[in-house]
Amino acid sequence: MQTQSARRGRVDPHLSMRDYDPEADLMLLHFGPQHPSTHGVFRMDLHLDGEVVVKATPYLGYLHRAVEKLCERLTYVQQTPVVDKNDYVAPMTNEQALNMAFEKLLNVEVPRRARWVRTLFAELQRIASHLLWLGTFALDLGGALGGGSTLFIHTFRERELILDLFEEVTGARFHYNTHTLGGNRHDLPAGFDVKVKAALAEIEARLDGYETMTLHNSIFVARTRGVGVLDGELALELGITGPILRASGVDHDLRRDAPYGAYDELKVRVAVEQGGDCYARAKVRVAEMRDSIRLVREAIEGVPEGPLCGFKPIRLVGQVKATAGQVYVAIETPRGELGTFVIASPDNPTAPHRLKIRSPSLHALSAIPYIVPGATVSDAVAILGSLDPIMGEVDR
């Protein structure tokens, strides 16, 4: 892959600094791990020629918590609240991915109501996640957007509306533990649809203003257009999914291509952009937010009556047993394809023999050595922000 990339005129991520112009006055800048714009604990080593990045090397692992190993020790019923902490901006999707894998492993059918409720939660979470991204991205770009942190505070306030809705259903604002094997643990309370619609109306009304501040703002466009261009071919090579892949012109969305939950009945409009730069990624995410608002409206109208869980409720720690089989289940989270690979073994029927989480943010970060060189330091921050990495999910 390396030689192919070099042939196409791409940056060589394995470039040795000794091969670079030895006369040049290069500077090594440790960017992170404790830096507000690295979105967590993430370090990049930037080799700078003046202000231009010559080589960028990402270093991961500062937030490694051995979640996959922990999942081999805990039983199937205990794992949902643990994986909640992986992608801490969209915890709902973590639970969903894990439990869908267990359901496939055990051939448990999820009732239609639970599938709709899950889809409703996933789309609400997508709006919340993208709102947080929009705010932090504006923060990354600095004071260019009518006062930098203004938008950050505004989107956080709108995101609170969605967290309030989750609190209403699950009792927790963040680490919900609401998905369980075969369905959900918490039913929608009475009058929930009214609250959802009110929150959505408010968010949708505010979104126009935020679009004016970002996508239609010439300063924002100047900072993002043509910055960090990632072509679709390289994105596919690196295993990048989600909004980043769609911004590079590849029309791929698991919600449409491999429907799960209620997506076989709800039609997703996949936003695709051709630019591959930070601007295209921003545009895709804002379009996704609008589409998610539409999907939530349809989902809350269409949630059918019926049972909420297709498996007996959790009563004992070892009540779920799987002795054989291996499955891989992937869902489309706000960041891309979140997959869970589970191997069951007869040695320990109550816990998986191996559990692997394929996180979209890890793959997104693998683009950094390719797209950051050639950019300035301030653009490197913008590129990292546009990739929307969540370090809890990268390191697990």
Partner: protein, 193 residues
């Protein structure tokens, strides 16, 4: 020039937000309304005879993903209220410092003994102060607002039979029962956002 126009347009959004109501509250003085299902701390309830409901079955201790619950049974004793023999938990500790508030202990409790309450614990200076023992857990049940979930409510909700509506009603007194005695000490500043 275009930059200036765009900046003014952006500023319009900023200025329009000045007119919106304040979204935050001044926390210690004003406490926002918490949802009925809000889960913060824990409590151990009494049964209808005024005895501790917990029968020390250790289901919560076994299911806790963080392993923060320790229950010690005191063996079977005759109940002073009913005269029947039953098991009591003589020691019950819950370490909130490592608790992840997943509600699994509430979910598995067959005697509806452990429940979650809506008021969080106050910050402390020593870690040991975050360990809830039997006395503090029982005091929480008396003094704080119970969250809506109990073992039977959560399990009934997930059972395959579609009986969503009657359930919501039948657990209602449970929610009401606690607030009756709760409006006291920390609730003095209960305000609306």
């Amino acid at each position: 020039m275009k930059t200036l126009i765009d900046a003014i347009k952006s500023l319009k959004t900023t200025v329009s937000n000045v007119l919106r109501p304040v979204a935050t509250v001044e926390f210690p003085a004003v406490i926002r309304v918490r949802a009925p299902r809000y889960r913060a701390s824990f409590a151990l309830t009494n049964d209808e005879h005024g005895e501790l409901s917990c029968v020390a079955c250790q289901a919560c201790e076994k299911i806790c993903p963080s392993g923060v619950i320790k229950v010690k049974s005191g063996g079977k004793r005759e109940s002073p209220a009913t005269g029947k023999k039953r098991q009591y938990s003589d020691e019950f500790t819950l370490d909130l410092a490592a608790c992840i508030q997943c509600e699994l202990c509430v979910q598995v409790c067959n005697s509806d003994a452990i429940i979650m309450v809506r008021e969080p614990e106050q910050p402390v200076y020593r870690r040991e102060d975050l360990v809830l023992d039997l006395d503090r857990l029982r005091a929480n049940a008396r003094e704080r607002t119970a969250a809506w979930g109990t073992g039977s409510v959560l399990q009934a909700m997930q059972e395959s039979k579609p009986r969503a509506e009657p359930k919501a009603k039948e657990e209602k007194p449970r929610v009401e029962a606690k607030p009756a005695e709760e409006p006291k000490a920390p609730a003095a500043a209960e305000g609306v956002t």
